[in-house]
């Protein structure tokens, strides 16, 4: 290393979300799209879903509010004429409900495929740079696959939402953000398992999302 880094190049390096300097109290720069939940936005670095990265949502059962969580972001994207893609959803994404959440259906695409091809499709969509968000349900998701999706999301600057069962919480994951939904008969809570960037430990990492 004998090259002298130009100050601008160094600044660019320090801007990288993966780098945090102990000496500075500033939050590393994270580009994010608001989730629509004020409490959650306040906690998450950058104030929302990280752009160009994988966000994992883990839940044990279907129908606990896992999709409502991403709906405001999706609605905003379609309003800005960005495409959102559902890759191998377990059920039918119900058009009237999506429309009621403010999603412009003209920008919604659904892809049905077997698990391997589903993973391939999700990666293609993310990498292409022409999709705003890709929501995928991948039963074969493992570290390698998520890493691929993460790289694809970075190169295509798209939001990747990966929905996985709760038992995946114990496994390591390269996702930039991991949320787990805990439910009981009364309420649903969100727990932030992991997020890229610093998080204020004084604030609760478990939030009420549906009472």
């Amino acid at each position: 290393m004998n090259a002298v880094l130009a100050p601008t190049a160094l600044d660019a390096v320090l801007q990288h979300p993966g780098i945090w300097r102990r000496s500075s109290s500033a939050q590393p720069h994270v580009r994010a799209l608001p989730t629509g939940l004020t409490d959650l936005d306040a906690v998450l670095p950058g104030g929302g879903w990280p752009c160009g990265a994988v966000s994992e949502i883990l839940c044990e059962y279907d129908g606990v509010g896992e999709l409502s969580l991403v709906m405001p972001a999706l609605a905003e994207m379609t309003q800005r004429a960005q495409r959102i893609v559902f890759v191998t959803p377990p059920y039918i994404p119900y058009a009237p409900a999506l429309a009621a959440h403010g999603v412009d259906l003209r920008y919604v695409v659904q892809i049905d495929a077997n698990p391997t091809e589903g993973a391939w499709s999700a990666e293609q969509c993310l990498r292409s740079g022409s999709c705003g968000a890709v929501l995928s349900w991948l039963p074969i998701a493992d570290y390698t696959l998520l890493r691929r999706l993460q790289l694809a999301a970075e190169s295509g600057d798209a939001l990747a939402f990966v929905f996985r069962p709760a038992k995946a919480a114990s496994k390591t994951s390269p996702a930039a953000l991991r949320l787990q939904l805990h439910t009981d008969a009364e309420q649903t809570d969100i727990e932030i398992l992991k997020c890229r960037g610093t998080i204020d430990r004084r604030k609760p990492t478990r939030l009420r999302c549906r009472a």
Partner: protein, 477 residues
Amino acid sequence: MLWACLYFSDLPLRAVFEDVELNGLCAVVDGPRQRQHIVMSTERAQKFGVRAGQPLAAARAICANVQARTRDVAAEQRLLKSLAAWAYRFSSQVSIAEPDALLIEIGASLNLFGGWPKLERRLRHALARIDYKPSIAAAPIPAAARVLAGHGDNYFIEHPDPMLSALDYIPIAKSGLSEKSVSLLYNVGLRTLRDVFALPRPELARRIGPSQIDLLDRMRGRVADLLTLYEPPPHFDNRVELDDRVEAWPPLLFPLRRLCNELSLFLTARDGGVQRCDIVLDHEDRTNTRVVIELLTPQREAKALYDLARSRLEHATITQPVCGIALVAKDLPELKPRHKDLFEPRREQGMDWPSLIERLRAHLGDTSVRGLSDVADHRPDRAWSFDDNSLTAPKRTPSTVTTLRPPRPIWLLHHEIPLRTASTRILAGPERIESGWWDGADMRRDYYIVQTGEGQRAWAYVAAGCLDGWMLHGWFA
């Protein structure tokens, strides 16, 4: 008018030795089976002494290794036709001069191509790329251009007078007159066309016949030449015969690439695109397998077509040995090239939306990638539908059907299933949906929003008025 003639002297050889390098020992033979004679031979064969007109037996005696194939006039015509299709890019007036030449009207667009030297270089360059070296001549009269091209290369005569004097020096053997007339005139002591032109017309006509006189008149422009102009076929239907019987797709890719290139050239000449084409795989028992390629938007580019065709061919099941592959395209709409913004920020390796969708559809199947839309119907199953318009260009205005509806679940189950969870709690309902008596699919149901013991929110129904027999229809995810 100015006509360029491309004279393909080795066409008979090219037509039958498509698969062999033409620098070998090859010869084309013709005539009755017992007394076949050489029509044309390659340069290397000529060095051994194999010449046109020689009986095949004599040629074999001189050179035992000569590879002889029977002349195929139909193949020559096919070849000439494909060359005419190729030449169509240079002029809209292309005529096939049987048996071995093409006439192209270049006068109208000479300025466009920047003059004859440039056009000629361009023609030769483009021909060399498809491995042809014809002799080229240009003259104001098509028949004269043909004669000049047969005599030598590189004639370019723009005006009739120098053309006539050039014709004067053409030996009669190369004048295009019939063999009988040539030998007759030669025996009288005539050597060039000047000698023939000098003869008194009635006497000459009596000896060589009116058709030959007509030819002489046409090359001097004394009578109008009626040329049939080449018309590009309205459809694309090209076929490649395979030498072996093929039972899997990989060996089909090479001919497929060639077909796609041909299709692309064809489309460029038409200034059109292709939206739907079929790959037809022929089997020995005259049945065939069709692989349909449907595209969302018209395409023209050879590489894109090949990639899309290839991934569909990979998914096709080939049950029997394939002996030929064809590409048929009948639906040839206009192509409107996509305009890209000069200042549009583009990422490297990025792919625009239409190519992404085409790629996904090619890989997964045409019905695997769908758009969604809502429908004005109260029955939950019918309140949505697939809608592929959004895949291409979202132009329709956003629908406003759903503004005043009670809450609907984001997940709808493909089929209703009995709701089997203990300790449920009704959060909202009932909402009675009673509709469809007019089309035979009537329903009377009470829908409730139900919370299960696990915290799931379900959209469940019972038959109207009942309180048991709960069916799950969706999840408020």
